[in-house]
Symmetry: C2
Subunit: 263 residues, 2 copies
DNA sequence: CGAGAGCTTGAGGCATCTCAACGGTTGTGG
DNA sequence: CCACAACCGTTGAGATGCCTCAAGCTCTCG
């Protein structure tokens, strides 16, 4: 039975997972269950919080502000654990939802701690994965705080590409991405309208296309340059992305570009 | 000797720390050393990464982008551990620096894991603190992504206030804050100029004053309303009313002591 | 006494938001 | 089978929040 394929691949980027370790891993989680698109994921239970391993499909977590705006916290793909951060907290401060149909497994604090005790080696790999995912949030902070909308989007796509490749999804040319523009916009602190315009820039510059849930990276080198993408924070070997490149000092002015095109 | 006062207070918000547990904690860290303002904090060593417990003083970590702009990741106060996230990563992706003179203790992965093994109870408290600090980064993401500059700043001040109170700093009226406006601006994804204007608004609205490193909250209720501040994510009891210490800084000053000793 | 850093204010520009509109697709219930 | 709602993607026009550039002040430190 093919259980925990994605998680195993992810952890293998840190240390090899032996068959018996994989069994141990599996027994730490609850049984798989299927969720429909848009279905809500609840992290709160009577006895503490609960996290979820995404075995398959896409999900995300977010916060809603009093004024109704939404900020997406993480995009979770296969092999990711959503809500791990909440396990030791007494109160839950975010909500989750499915993007696509997906297969999830529960993880409780008890299960997680039992895993740590049973195998420090696998435990270390899980902690590594958690630390890496923290790094993703930190990089998103840098994105939103200090990068332009166009750079943010480019950076986001490159990151997603690397993450997907790590768990065996996507290929050297691009990847499937079921995220809607509103969700991506709320991830990057933009409006869907503006994100859409940035997408047009990426398309007309022949860097990326994104249609029908399929992202194609047309010019990887220029995209990396544009985004100022340095994959160090992913703590993984770059997969199908060349190493580092000199970064552009001057970022193309997207608005001028749009004006020129429409004139 | 008064070691780990702040950390002990912080952890006590999760579970009581017994004297022998405190000794164990102390032995998990390196010896205290003093750093000067602006001094850089390096997380990389030959053998893996190293984190730092702030015993006293203020520090922060940040990333610099290719275009020279800076994004501050965390502001660390007494009792915080800077760089904990990096311990299990193979590559370091950020830098640290002191704001004030401060007293730090090293923490290695080995020390951290030994602590976990020696006392699961204290280990759990440390993990709780780490999860809570993750929550701070997440809330910063929401700040920068979806709140206006004024709200961001107000939210930041309220958060800082709560954090400081948790480790026994500040009082019911405000707190000492040695952060410069450029540092706060780089934390909130703003320019120092604009931050300054927002500060003026808070002042003229009679919500907050911030002069000579002293923040006074003049109208807590309105400030909370303005910021849309919901302290759930801090996972601590709100501490704005109880006035235990009429004086501002109650953590004993060991800097002078250490300076005298090393001289 | 000069250099560097922080704080403050003004004026103008532009990146992004808001409001508005339209077409396509999907799902649903009459 | 059609009507309708809900959501998404796309584009235009105008408004604005924040940035950039510029300047002057204070304070500390060497």
């Amino acid at each position: 039975m093919h259980s925990l394929v994605a998680l195993t691949r992810k952890l293998s980027a840190y240390s090899a997972i032996e068959p018996e370790e994989r069994k141990l891993l599996t027994s730490s989680f609850g049984h798989p269950h299927v969720l429909a698109p848009r279905q809500e994921i609840c992290f709160e239970t009577d006895a503490g919080q609960r996290a979820y391993l995404i075995e398959e499909g896409w999900a995300f977590s977010y916060k809603i502000l009093p004024n109704g705006s939404r900020q997406v916290i993480d995009i979770a793909i296969a092999g990711d654990i959503l809500g791990l951060r909440l396990l030791r907290l007494r109160r839950c401060d975010m909500v989750g939802a499915m993007v696509t149909t997906g297969v999830l497994r529960d993880l409780t604090l008890g299960g997680f701690e039992a895993l740590m005790r049973a195998s420090p080696r696998v435990g270390a790999a899980m902690q590594w994965a958690a630390s890496r995912d923290d790094g993703l949030v930190v990089e998103r902070l840098v994105d939103i705080g200090r990068r332009s909308a166009l750079q943010r989007f480019a950076h986001f796509l490159l990151e997603l590409w690397q993450r997907l490749r790590l768990v065996g999804l996507g290929d050297a040319n691009g990847f499937r991405c079921p995220l809607s523009q509103p969700v991506i916009a709320d991830t990057l602190g933009l409006t869907a309208i503006h994100l859409n315009r940035m997408l047009r820039v990426l398309r007309t510059e022949e860097l990326v296309t994104f249609r029908d849930g399929l992202v194609r990276i047309l010019n990887r080198r220029k995209l990396i340059e544009l985004a100022g993408f340095d994959p160090t924070y992913l703590d993984q070997e770059p997969l199908q992305i060349a190493v580092r490149h000199p970064v552009l000092d001057v970022v193309p002015n997207s608005i001028e570009f749009l004006k020129a095109k429409s004139a």
